[in-house]
C-alpha cells in the first residue's frame, strides 16, 4: 500500500505544481494583456477625444466664418444671432454652444438649461481668448464639456463662439464600445477636485471612485490596481490638457480614467484554472485507481513472497507459495521454492557431515552425543537399566603411521571401525572421536555384560591381527568405560568419565578399565586447577628452580630445571601435583614452552656473568608429538643468541617408548640443533637399553628407586653396575638421581657413575641462590683438586 501512497503523493505533487505554474503564467499573461489593453486603449481614446474636439472646433469655425452670423453679431441682433447659433449647433450635432461678446458677455446660447446662470458660464469663459485652438474641458452644472472656441472676427476679434460636447455616460459608453475599457471622465470642479462627469462604471463603483477622488486619491503610477466596491480594476489615466500622465492632484482641467476589470481580464484564465482543476481531480482519481491496481499487482505478490522467505528463514522445509503468479513474479516464486529445496538438501548434507566422520562413515563426537541423548530417552522409555560409553584408542597408531605410512594408518582405522561396528548391537552407536580414538555407546540390562562384551572384543583384536596390503598388523586397543543408569547423568559427563577411564587404562596398560569414583575425586578441583594453570602460564606464576648435577668427584656439571608453581594463595607448589594433570589435559605443551623460554633466558643471564651452566629441561611425550616444538626451540635460541650446548632436554623412558617414531624424529632434529637429550627415570619402563641404542640419547638418568639405599653387594648394585657398564659401552653418560646419603654416593662412585644429583649435594634452588652455590662450589672444588694434586 505504501507504493500506492507514493504514487498518489507524487501525482498530487505534480498536479499541484502544474496547477500553480499554469495559474501563475495565466495571471502574468492576464496582467500583461491588461497593461497592453490599457496602453492601447489610452492611445485610441486620446485620438477619439482629439477627433471629437477637432470636429467641435471645425463646427465653431464654420459658425464664426459665416458672414451673416458675423453681421448679426456686429449688428447686435439677438434673434438672428440665436437662430444662427441654433442652426449651426443642430447641424454640427453640438450639445452646447454660446456666443461671447468682446466684453465677455454671453449674448447667445443653446443646449444649456435655463437654470444655468450666466455667472456659471462666465466662470467658464474667463480667459476665453486663451482657449482658442486648445482642447478645453470645463465643468458646468457638474457636467464636463469638451469645448472648442473660435474668435468672431469682424474682422478683428470682437467676440467668441464656443461649441461643446458633454462628456457624459453616453460618450463614455460609446467609447467603451470601441475600446472595451471602462472609461470615466473627470473634470476639475471649482473646489479644485476631480469630479466624475461621465462613466461606464456601475453606480456603486462610480460612487466609490468619486469618494477616492474627493480624498485626492487619483490613481497614480503605472497600472495601479484599485478596488472599487470589491472589484479590482487595473487603472490608468491621462490628462486632456496635454500629454502628461494623470497625476494625483488635479493639475489638469480634465482627465480621462481608463480601467479594466481584473475579474474580466482574468475571467477566462480562471475558467481555464477551473477546467485544469477538474482535469487534475479526474487525473488524481485515475492515479489512485492505477496505484491501487499496481499495489495489488506488485505489492501483494511481494508481500506473499516476503512471507514465504520469512518461513524459509525460520527453517520451515518445503515451503509452498500459496498463490499462483504469472510472468516474472511467477518465475521469482518458482525460484524461491527451488531455492528452499536446495537449501533443505544442503542443510541435510551439512547436518550429516556435522555428525558423521568422513573416513569411517561412523558418527563423530557430535553424532555420538546426539545419539547418547536419544538413547537415554529411548532407554528410559524402554526401562533399559544402563547406558555405557566406551572410549577406545588404538595403541601406537603413530608408529604404524610412521613406519607404514598414513594410508595404512587410515586403513587400520577403517578396519578397527568395521570390527567395532560388527561387534555393536543394532541400537548401539560406534563413533570415531579423533585420530585413533573411538567411542562406543552401549546399552545393556547388566553392567557385567558390558564388561564381558568388551573383554571379548579386546580378545578378538589380540588374537586376530589385521591384514592390510600384505602387512599383518597387531592392533591393540585401550578401552575405558563408564556406565550409568539411563536416568542419571548427561552424555557429556558420561563421555568425560569414559575418557578418564581410558587414560587410566593406557597408563596402566590394562584394558578395559571401568571408571570409578576414585578417578573422579579430583575432577572438580582439577577443573579449577586447569583454569588456574592456564592463568599461571599467562601471569608468569610458574618459576624454575635449579638442582645441580655434579661430577662424581663433586665438580658442578649442570643443573636440572624444575618447575615450581608460585601460587598466589597456596604458595609454592611442587610439580608432582600439577605436571601429571597438565600432561593429561594437554596444557603441558604451553607449560613446557614456558619452561624452555625461561631456561634459555636464565642461561643467557648466567652466561653474561661468566657462568656456563648447562640447563636441562623436562619435556613430555606431547612435546615430542608436537612437530613445531623443535622449530620453536631453535627459533628461541637464535633470537636469544643463546648457546645450544648449554640447553639439554630430559624425557622419561615411558614417554619415549609410547611414541617411539615421533620421539626418534624429534630427538634427531634436536641433536642436529646441538641439543643433548637425556633419558629420565631410566629403569622404570623395562626398556632394553640396546633397543634405545639407535636413539640419539647422550645421557641416562638412573631412577631414584635404584639409587635409594644403594650399597655395595645389593641386587640393585649389580643391576646398576651392569647398566652403567652397558651405557658406557654405548657412549652414554650415566647420572644418578636422588642421591641422599654418603653411602649411596660411595656406592655410585664404585659403580663408576659419571654424575650425581640429590639432596646430599643440593636441593632445587632459585636462580640467585643457585648462582651463589655454583660460584662457591666451583671455588671449593678447585681447592679440593689442588689439595688432591698436592696430596
Amino acid at each position: 500500500m505504501r507504493i500506492a501512497l507514493y504514487f498518489i503523493g507524487l501525482l498530487a505533487a505534480v498536479q499541484l505544481i502544474t496547477h500553480f505554474v499554469v495559474h501563475d503564467a495565466n495571471m502574468r499573461i492576464a496582467s500583461a494583456h491588461t497593461a497592453d489593453q490599457l496602453n492601447r486603449g489610452e492611445r485610441v481614446l486620446r485620438r477619439l477625444i482629439e477627433e471629437r474636439g477637432a470636429s467641435s472646433r471645425q463646427a465653431v469655425r464654420i459658425l464664426v466664418a459665416d458672414f451673416a452670423f458675423r453681421k448679426a453679431v456686429a449688428a447686435g441682433d439677438p434673434a438672428t444671432m440665436q437662430s444662427a447659433l441654433d442652426n449651426h449647433g443642430a447641424r454640427l450635432r453640438s450639445d452646447i454652444g454660446f456666443v461671447v461678446s468682446d466684453s465677455k458677455q454671453v449674448i447667445a446660447r443653446f443646449g444649456l438649461p435655463k437654470s444655468t446662470s450666466s455667472d456659471a458660464i462666465a466662470e467658464v469663459i474667463q480667459n476665453i481668448e486663451r482657449k482658442e485652438d486648445v482642447p478645453w474641458v470645463a465643468l458646468i452644472d457638474g457636467r464636463a464639456i469638451l469645448f472648442a472656441v473660435a474668435p468672431i472676427l469682424m474682422p478683428d476679434a470682437n467676440g467668441w463662439a464656443a461649441f461643446g460636447s458633454v462628456l457624459d455616460d453616453r460618450v463614455a459608453t460609446d467609447l467603451k464600445g470601441l475600446t472595451d475599457l471602462d472609461i470615466s471622465f473627470l473634470a476639475t470642479s471649482v473646489a479644485g477636485q476631480y469630479q466624475i462627469s461621465g462613466s461606464t462604471l456601475a453606480p456603486s463603483e462610480r460612487a466609490q471612485l468619486q469618494t477616492r477622488l474627493a480624498r485626492g486619491q487619483a490613481p497614480a503610477g503605472e497600472w495601479p490596481e484599485i478596488d472599487l466596491d470589491g472589484h479590482p480594476y487595473a487603472t490608468s489615466g491621462f490628462s486632456l490638457d496635454g500629454d502628461a500622465r494623470l497625476k494625483n492632484a488635479p493639475d489638469a482641467s480634465a482627465a480621462v480614467l481608463v480601467q479594466k476589470s481584473v475579474e474580466q481580464s482574468t475571467g477566462p484564465f480562471k475558467h481555464l484554472s477551473l477546467i485544469l482543476s477538474v482535469v487534475s481531480l479526474v487525473g488524481a482519481f485515475a492515479g489512485i485507481l492505477c496505484s491501487v491496481w499496481i499495489a495489488r499487482a506488485i505489492a501483494k505478490p511481494i508481500q506473499v513472497l516476503t512471507e514465504v522467505t520469512n518461513r524459509i528463514r525460520r527453517g520451515e522445509k518445503a515451503v509452498a507459495v500459496p498463490m499462483h503468479f504469472k510472468g516474472e513474479i511467477g518465475e521469482l516464486a518458482t525460484g524461491f521454492v527451488q531455492m528452499n529445496l536446495e537449501i533443505d538438501k544442503r542443510e541435510e548434507e551439512i547436518l550429516r557431515l556435522a555428525f558423521v566422520d568422513p573416513l569411517t562413515q561412523l558418527a563423530n563426537r557430535a553424532g555420538l552425543m546426539q545419539a547418547v541423548e536419544q538413547m537415554a530417552v529411548q532407554a528410559r522409555a524402554a526401562d533399559s537399566s544402563w547406558v555405557a560409553i566406551v572410549s577406545l584408542d588404538i595403541a601406537r597408531l603413530q608408529q604404524i603411521n610412521d613406519s607404514l605410512g598414513f594410508s595404512v594408518g587410515d586403513q587400520v582405522i577403517k578396519a578397527v571401525a568395521e570390527r567395532l561396528k560388527n561387534f555393536s548391537q543394532a541400537e548401539e552407536v560406534v563413533a570415531r572421536i579423533e585420530g585413533d580414538g573411538f567411542a562406543w555407546l552401549m546399552v545393556d540390562k547388566q553392567v557385567a555384560d558390558i564388561d564381558l562384551r568388551l573383554r571379548s572384543l579386546l580378545d578378538e583384536f589380540a588374537s586376530d591381527p589385521i591384514n592390510i596390503e600384505n602387512h599383518t598388523i597387531d592392533v591393540q586397543l585401550h578401552a575405558g568405560w563408564a556406565a550409568s543408569r539411563a536416568t542419571e547423568k548427561n552424555a557429556d559427563e558420561l563421555f568425560r568419565r569414559a575418557e578418564i577411564a581410558l587414560h587410566v587404562a593406557s597408563m596402566r596398560r590394562l584394558s578395559p578399565v571401568r571408571h570409578d569414583q576414585s578417578m573422579d575425586v579430583d575432577s572438580s578441583s582439577q577443573l579449577g586447577l586447569l583454569s588456574e594453570l592456564r592463568r599461571a602460564v599467562i601471569n608468569d606464576e610458574l618459576v624454575l628452580h635449579y638442582q645441580p648435577k655434579l661430577t662424581i668427584n663433586g665438580k658442578p656439571a649442570g643443573v636440572e630445571a624444575l618447575l615450581r608453581w608460585n601460587h598466589p594463595s597456596k604458595g609454592l607448589i611442587g610439580p608432582g601435583t600439577f605436571i601429571e594433570f597438565a600432561e593429561q589435559t594437554g596444557s603441558i605443551r604451553a607449560i613446557t614452552r614456558h619452561a624452555v623460554r625461561e631456561a634459555i633466558r636464565q642461561s643467557v643471564r648466567w652466561e653474561k656473568i661468566g657462568l656456563d651452566i648447562p640447563i636441562a629441561v623436562n619435556i613430555s611425550a606431547h612435546d615430542l608429538q608436537d612437530e613445531s616444538f623443535t622449530g620453536f626451540v631453535t627459533d628461541l635460541l637464535t633470537s636469544a643468541r643463546a648457546r645450544p650446548e648449554l640447553l639439554k632436554f630430559e624425557i622419561t623412558e615411558r614417554a619415549l617408548l609410547d611414541n617411539l617414531g615421533a620421539a626418534e624424529r624429534a630427538l634427531k632434529q634436536l641433536g642436529a640443533a646441538g641439543i643433548e637429550v637425556a633419558l629420565d627415570d631410566y629403569g622404570t619402563g623395562y626398556a632394553a637399553l640396546t633397543h634405545l641404542s639407535r636413539l640419539p640419547v647422550s645421557e641416562i638418568k638412573i631412577d631414584r628407586s635404584f639409587v635409594s639405599g644403594l650399597t655395595a653387594g645389593s641386587r640393585n648394585f649389580a643391576i646398576t653396575l651392569t647398566t652403567v657398564e652397558l651405557a658406557h659401552r654405548l657412549k652414554m653418560r650415566v647420572v644418578a638421581e636422588g642421591v641422599e646419603t654418603v653411602e649411596e654416593h660411595t656406592a655410585l662412585r664404585k659403580i663408576g657413575c659419571d654424575q650425581v644429583q640429590g639432596f646430599l649435594f643440593a636441593k632445587p634452588l632459585p636462580a640467585d641462590e643457585l648462582r651463589d652455590w655454583w660460584q662457591a662450589r666451583s671455588a671449593a672444588y678447585v681447592t679440593i683438586e689442588r689439595a688432591r694434586e698436592c696430596g
Binding site: 453679431v73 449688428a75 474682422p155 478683428d156 476679434a157
Partner: protein, 221 residues
C-alpha cells in the same frame, strides 16, 4: 504809417500787454510724445490725439480729407489712416484677385460686393470713431480708419515719436489709440507748459493675433 497801421501797432501792443498780463497765453510750445509698450520698446502706428481745453482755440490740423485705402498683395494699404469727420474714402483694388471690403463698425458700416480695379463706391465718413475694415474673402485682411474730432491726431513713427510743433501752452486731453491697445483707447490730461516738452507714454498691448495669410505662388494665386 497810416491809422490802421497805428491801430495795428496799438493792437499789437495790447496783445503783448495781454500776453504779459495773462501769463503765457500766447506762448507756443514744441511737444514730443514718445509711445512705448510695456517692455519699453518704441511703439509704431499708435495714434496720438490732443484735445485742447475749451479756452484754447486751435484749428484742426488733420488735413486728410478724400483718400484711398488700397488693397495691395491682399493687405489694406495703408493699414491705418487717421482722418476727420466728413472725409471720403475709396478702396481701389490693386490686386489681381477680387476683394469684398466691409465694415461692421458703428462709426460707419458698409459692405462692398466683390470687385476688381477701382473702387466701386466712395464712402463718406460722417461720424467720428473707428472703422475696422475687413475683406469678406480674405479673413486676415484688417485695416483701420480712425475718424477723429480732435484738432491734432498723428500716427507714431517707427521710433514711437509724435512731434507736435507750435501748439499753444495750456491744458489738453491726450488720447492714444492702437489696434492692440488693451483698453481700446486711453486718455489722460496733459498740461503743455515748456517750450520743449517731452512726454513718454507707456501702453499695455494685447498679444498680436496670428494672422494666417497664405503665401501666394509666383503667379499671384
Amino acid at each position: 504809417m497810416s491809422t490802421p497801421r497805428t491801430f495795428s501797432i496799438v493792437l499789437g501792443c495790447m496783445l503783448v500787454l495781454f500776453a504779459v498780463t495773462q501769463g503765457d497765453c500766447w506762448a507756443q510750445s514744441r511737444l514730443t510724445i514718445t509711445l512705448k509698450d510695456s517692455q519699453g520698446t518704441p511703439l509704431k502706428d499708435g495714434v496720438v490725439m490732443l484735445q485742447p481745453s475749451a479756452d484754447i482755440t486751435l484749428a484742426s490740423r488733420v488735413t486728410k480729407r478724400d483718400f484711398a485705402v488700397q488693397q495691395i498683395d491682399r493687405e489694406f494699404v495703408p493699414r491705418i489712416t487717421v482722418t476727420s469727420v466728413g472725409a471720403n474714402v475709396t478702396f481701389p483694388n490693386r490686386d489681381a484677385v477680387q476683394h469684398s471690403v466691409y465694415s461692421f463698425s458703428k462709426a460707419k458700416s458698409f459692405e462692398i460686393p466683390i470687385y476688381a480695379g477701382k473702387s466701386p463706391q466712395t464712402i463718406t465718413l460722417d461720424k467720428a470713431g473707428l472703422v475696422t475694415l475687413g475683406c469678406n474673402i480674405h479673413d486676415w485682411m484688417v485695416g483701420y480708419i480712425l475718424i477723429v474730432d480732435t484738432p491734432i491726431a498723428e500716427l507714431s513713427a517707427a521710433d514711437g515719436k509724435v512731434v507736435v510743433s507750435d501748439i499753444p501752452q495750456g491744458k489738453y486731453t491726450l488720447r492714444v489709440w492702437h489696434p492692440r491697445l488693451k483698453s481700446g483707447e486711453m486718455s489722460e490730461p496733459l498740461t503743455v507748459s515748456a517750450t520743449e516738452q517731452n512726454v513718454e507714454i507707456k501702453v499695455t498691448l494685447n498679444p498680436a493675433r496670428a494672422r494666417k495669410k497664405p503665401v501666394l505662388d509666383s503667379e499671384g494665386y
